[in-house]
Symmetry: none
Subunit: 212 residues, 4 copies
DNA sequence: TATGAATGAGCCTTCATTCAT
DNA sequence: CATGAATGAAGGCTCATTCAT
């Protein structure tokens, strides 16, 4: 058993090394300049060996995206944990959103690669706009929880909460994407925009029972 | 003269045919799978001839992006014109945003290609988050005009209006991008999301003097 | 007649313009980067028209080489003329060789192109080593004349004079080629080499009756 | 170990085969008509494989030139060795020069390609006219040694010896180039020219103390 | 005379993938 | 497990030349 276990472990380590090489190449040159040869060169193995661990280039790309998605979710959960200490809902919303934005901006290239990929394999992890996302997507679920704590007179059905969460999430997503694309904005403008975004979202959350 | 005119026209038609082939290829396979050879094959000419009409692949891509950007701006202006008839500010904001969203969704792939391109040449047209965008970008300018008509007690400085416009714009952008990426959402969910987005933005606009 | 003459003249002028464009392109980028298209671009005509004046690229190259050869011979003759005033043979030899070297160095690229070309068409003008070159090649003929004026006791047959002239010519040719190839030599080293070459050639000419 | 050695040997053999194909193509069509495809065709492999053994076309050309240069230097050293037996200086000079000329003529095309190449990489091996060449270039050094053995009354400084050696070398170079370019000269004329060249150089060497 | 469209061949290079060893 | 050889396809591009107009 020990031998087989070791083999299995070594296999996993090799796969990890390949994915890490892929990841660093992608963050350096972009996802479509990635090539098997470059990965092989970086891990100092021959190109052929990669096909012992992955079916082909496509599988590597998918695994890369999954990996990055997992990293993100992990990061997000740490955000959640920090925020769980009892806070007034407004502050909780504000903090959660801000931390999420800062986190995604810190891995901008990967975030962009993952979140704009529209292959089914990746979308099965990253889609957030479908009905019922509150149950399956932690980010949306958390936002819903948060929104439900506002004094919203119970008037709003569950479905409007989920939709509002999705809109707030998409709004952050849009801001993040623009900040990534318009990459040379001055620091203070970035801060002003984030601050305005947070105010606006709070405005939505507090005004929610009026406008729906 | 007629002869020269005809030649010029034919030349322009050929350029258009090339760009159209490029456009359809891009919408089918994405902008980075585009190749001169594929364009040639599609227009049923030899690859070489393309260099008769364009300097190289880069020029074709740039022209494609410019073209799509122009189309968008044109579309947007028609939106503006339709909305100019005196309306209460809330309705104006609502209609403008909705029409803009529907328009961009109707050319989703192109919109995505243009708006996510981060080369300086393209960004010089498409950037919207910089300070002063209200003057240089019609979309932001229009939003600012609209926002300023809300009963906002003059408390908000110009700069907060611009920032708020940029946030509202980015929020729409994020929703649009998600709707493009998560391409198989049921029609009714799309409608619910758009509707919720519009309500939320109005909520920001009306609540604007409270939260700032 | 006048019309035909004018047409002929215009035709010749066009040919000249093409050859000039070719010449400047060659001196800028080298003879094998020359292309019909570049010529056309430079004379601001279409590529096709060139085939009305020349059979093809090859003919242009040959004409270019012939042209440059003619220029050189012309230049050489002016050297000769200047030197014809009665001078002691040693001075005459010295001056002629020096002027020739300086002249060729001033058009180094062309000289190199012409003199290293080994197609029959060009060689029929440029060959100098064949028996009888003294009659057909002015440069060799001139050198022979010069050498015969040394006090060489008539011991040397005509053939040795021609051979000696060919050797002296080749020696200059070798020095010139090296100076062209080793293009970054300091000025003073170039001068020292030329001076040493001239001394050596005089040494050959004066010592000629001893060693043969 | 045997296996690795064999692999290494096979790799070297393949590289050699590629270089040989390149060499024969160059001698047939000239160095600038060389192409990767033609090499591939000649060795009956696909073009791509060549990049397995060489970084690109440039590396092949450089290796070719280095190879030919090495061959030449090797050949030259064998000349030197043969000539080292005590001979009167005149005979030594004569024999050395003659053997060198005959050797270069036997690989005429390659010699020409190498010696007329003016890229820095190649010139760093082949330049001979710079001050101090006697120390760095065996051919010049050898000539200097030879010249210094003539009864030249110590009048000539080291620098004139080096310059004279460079002139003698260049003179041979010029003759060789002409013999290569004017490729169809009758055998006896070639012999007469070489003989006359040798006499002339001896004449320079013996007359050296008079004219300087 | 002159044009501009068009081709087909050629160029260097990169790549994903396969396979015998 | 790992390699290195090998291929075939593809990519961007340049060019000499032809030809209808």
């Amino acid at each position: 058993m020990t031998k087989e276990q070791r083999q299995l472990r070594e296999r996993e380590e090799m796969k990890k090394r390949i994915l890490q090489a892929a990841a660093s190449l992608i963050s350096e040159e972009g996802i479509d300049k990635l090539s098997i040869r470059k990965i092989a060169e970086r891990i100092e193995y021959s190109p052929g060996i990669i096909y012992h661990y992955f079916q082909g280039k496509d599988e590597i790309v998918v695994r890369y995206l999954q990996q990055k998605y997992t990293d993100m979710v992990d990061g997000l959960q740490s955000v959640q944990r920090k925020a769980e200490h009892e806070l007034p809902p407004e502050m909780l919303l504000r903090q959660s959103l801000e931390q999420w934005i800062r986190m995604t901006l810190s891995t901008s290239v990967e975030y962009r690669n993952v979140m704009l990929n529209d292959t089914p394999a990746v979308l099965s992890y990253t889609a957030v706009l479908f009905k019922g996302a509150a149950q399956e997507r932690k980010a949306i679920g958390m936002l819903c929880q948060c929104l439900s704590r506002f004094e919203s007179k119970e008037l709003h059905k569950d479905s409007s909460i989920e939709l509002t969460a999705q809109v707030i999430w998409s709004a952050a997503f849009g801001l993040i994407m623009r900040l990534i694309v318009e990459k040379d904005l001055p620091e203070e403008q970035v801060e002003a925009l984030i601050s305005c975004y947070l105010n606006s979202m709070v405005s939505i959350a507090t005004g929610i029972y009026m406008s729906l």
